[in-house]
């Protein structure tokens, strides 16, 4: 069977039956666990979804309204400057780790250099006014705030620079290629389906066309946003499911018991940050509850590493970068955050 719509419907029926069976036919302890899993999954997804929508809309607007030539002209040639600007770009696009991925992908489509995109991707979820405010609210003016922002900036800048060692085509997944031949039948079909469109194509007067074109560009930006949401959303769904499954299956105590010592505590909280996949706008409040059982370095690593890499964002990276690049994008922040945590614990 090659018809994707039929495959989709078949699979939909199968999954519906499976979920129904898990809820209604399994023993009480399994079904209540499944219910808890569903609640946590929907919690993470519903919480993150508006941010992904916002990121997709920004991306759609960039796609339609930002002129590629102008942007490339504006970007510095020097990789140092590009990485630095990328790391600070979050103040212009305040997005969290769900929204940042589609925006980054779109910026790459517009010809932004590799280093700048990577630094933006890693830094923006923290280096923005919203997260600055929430971290300040939770921890006040002090070490944690300083190390979180300084550390994130430094790591995003460094990783961005390191990526200049690679050729972009080895790092980035290819974008969908132009296929102009495909457009023509689409037009024909549309004209048949929607009389309004067909009509508009016929009566075009110069002024009227510009007006409609203005509206049309907005609708096209929205459709591009929709495609971005569908593209990235599936990684968000899988990531939220993994995080929810971890929370329902693995007892938190097994992680927390390990939480002593300068090195071990850092590793444990970083693992927790990866697994929990909490949105960067609020993770400071969650970190507060670790203050008395974990070292300051561990908390800093939690707040630096979590927004850069967690289960759901790591999966979303796969929509932009090649697999090896994703592995590097996980490993480099991991190593640097670990070192940062140790540094804070030993000398901070």
């Amino acid at each position: 069977m090659k018809n994707p719509a039929a495959l989709f419907l078949l699979a939909l029926i199968f999954v519906t039956a499976l979920i129904w069976a898990m809820t209604n036919l399994t023993p009480a302890d399994v079904s209540s666990r499944f219910q808890t899993f569903a609640t946590i999954f929907l919690g993470i997804f519903i919480e993150a979804m508006p941010f992904l929508v916002a990121g997709s809309l920004v991306s759609g607007i960039i796609a339609e309204f930002v002129d590629q030539g102008a942007l490339v002209h504006f970007v510095p040639d020097n990789p140092l400057a590009a990485a630095l600007i990328g790391a600070l770009l979050g103040f212009a696009f305040p997005v969290c780790e769900c929204g940042v991925v589609p925006v980054t992908r779109r910026l790459y489509g517009k010809g932004v250099p590799l280093a700048m995109g990577i630094s933006f991707l890693l830094a923006a979820p923290v280096i923005n006014p919203i997260v600055l405010a929430s971290t300040f609210t939770a921890f006040g003016w002090g070490d944690v705030l300083f190390w979180r922002f300084g550390g994130t900036l430094a790591i995003a800048f460094l990783v961005g620079l390191l990526f200049t060692l690679f050729r972009p085509e080895r790092v980035l997944r290819p974008m969908p290629l132009p296929a102009p031949t495909l457009l023509l039948p689409t037009v024909a079909v549309l004209e048949k389906c929607i009389p309004e469109v067909a009509e508009s194509e016929m009566s075009r007067d110069e002024e009227e066309m510009t007006a409609r074109e203005g509206n049309g560009r907005w609708w096209r930006a929205l459709a591009a946003a929709g495609d971005d949401f569908l593209d990235m959303g599936r990684y968000l769904v899988i990531g939220s499911m993994l995080a929810a499954a971890m929370q329902t299956i693995v007892p938190q105590a097994t992680l927390v018991v390990l939480g002593e010592g300068a090195l071990l505590s850092v590793i444990v909280l970083m693992a927790l940050a990866f697994v929990l996949s909490i949105c960067s706008t609020v993770d400071a409040f969650v970190a507060l509850s670790f203050v008395h059982s974990f070292s300051i370095g561990a908390i800093v690593s939690f707040l630096v590493f979590g927004p850069m890499v967690d289960i759901k964002s790591a999966l979303m990276f796969l929509g932009v970068f090649r697999r090896r690049a994703v592995a590097l994008l996980i490993m480099l922040p991991l190593i640097f955050s670990l070192l940062l945590g140790l540094l804070v614990n030993l000398y901070g």
Binding site: F8, S32, I40, P50, R212, G226, D227, L288
Partner: protein, 248 residues
């Protein structure tokens, strides 16, 4: 067909989220302050879902890059994955976190900090007071929380707590835990709060049953930790509140 399926999946998600906000079960999943955001997100996916039918059909002579407008055919499994939140939401009856979620979490019997707690305790306002005026002066969750690490200070004080019943093999037959979750963002970050209750008929209470417990606090010990224990005088079974979590 691609376009139709995309529109259906996106709009179904938007409508599903809208209904959750409309019937208030959205509070089972996220902090109340994000409700508006969810509503905006739902409107966003509805709008982009419908946009596939409103965009002009072909490129004019503009300078934007054509390839960004190519809607790559979405694979069927991608759409299926995006239908999962809607399917799970519709097929699994909405229910707040309860005893099962506690099994996997650190029981926060000792680690309560003042900084973690909400400034204004919403308890008495939201839930009414099943015991009438007499219990007005009794302690609530937050007062207990502030003194939790000094159980001596709570000795002999009256308290009235509302929460769900939790029990595991560490509990004696005449005791259970009355629990509540404290949510700062969504249920993924829910922290469990709990007070050990002594009640002769504890064994008859079902897991996840919501109760309102009235009694006096006594310093005691649980799992080797000094904790306040609520010696119950009355335990009343109640329906789960519309707003099951505390928010900070």
């Amino acid at each position: 067909m691609d376009k139709l399926l995309k529109t259906i999946v996106l709009c179904a998600l938007g409508i599903f989220l809208y209904t959750r906000v409309a019937n208030n079960t959205i509070l089972f999943y996220i902090h109340e302050r994000f409700t508006l955001l969810t509503l905006l997100g739902a409107m966003g996916v509805l709008l982009v879902g419908l946009s596939y039918y409103r965009q002009p059909p072909h490129e004019h002579t503009h300078n934007y890059d054509a390839h960004n407008h190519q809607h790559a055919p979405l694979r069927w499994w991608g759409l299926l994955i995006l239908s999962l939140p809607t399917l799970l939401g519709l097929l699994v009856p909405p229910q707040p976190l309860g005893a099962v979620a506690l099994l996997n979490r650190e029981l926060n019997l000792g680690g309560w900090q003042e900084s973690n707690l909400p400034q204004v305790p919403p308890l008495s306002r939201e839930e009414g007071n099943p015991w009438g005026q007499s219990a007005q002066a009794s302690l609530d969750w937050f007062t207990i929380a502030r003194e939790f690490n000094r159980p001596q200070a709570l000795n002999g004080r009256e308290a009235q707590l509302t929460g769900f019943v939790y029990r595991d093999d560490r509990f004696a037959p005449d005791s259970f835990l009355v629990g509540r979750f404290l949510v700062s963002c969504c249920v993924a970050d829910a922290a469990a709060l709990g007070v050990v209750v002594q009640w002769p008929e504890a064994a008859e209470l079902a897991l996840d049953q919501w109760v309102s417990v009235y009694g006096r606090l006594q310093s005691g010990e649980f799992a080797g930790q000094p904790v306040p224990i609520l010696v119950a005088e009355r335990v009343q079974l109640i329906a789960p509140p519309a707003q099951p979590y505390f928010y900070r």
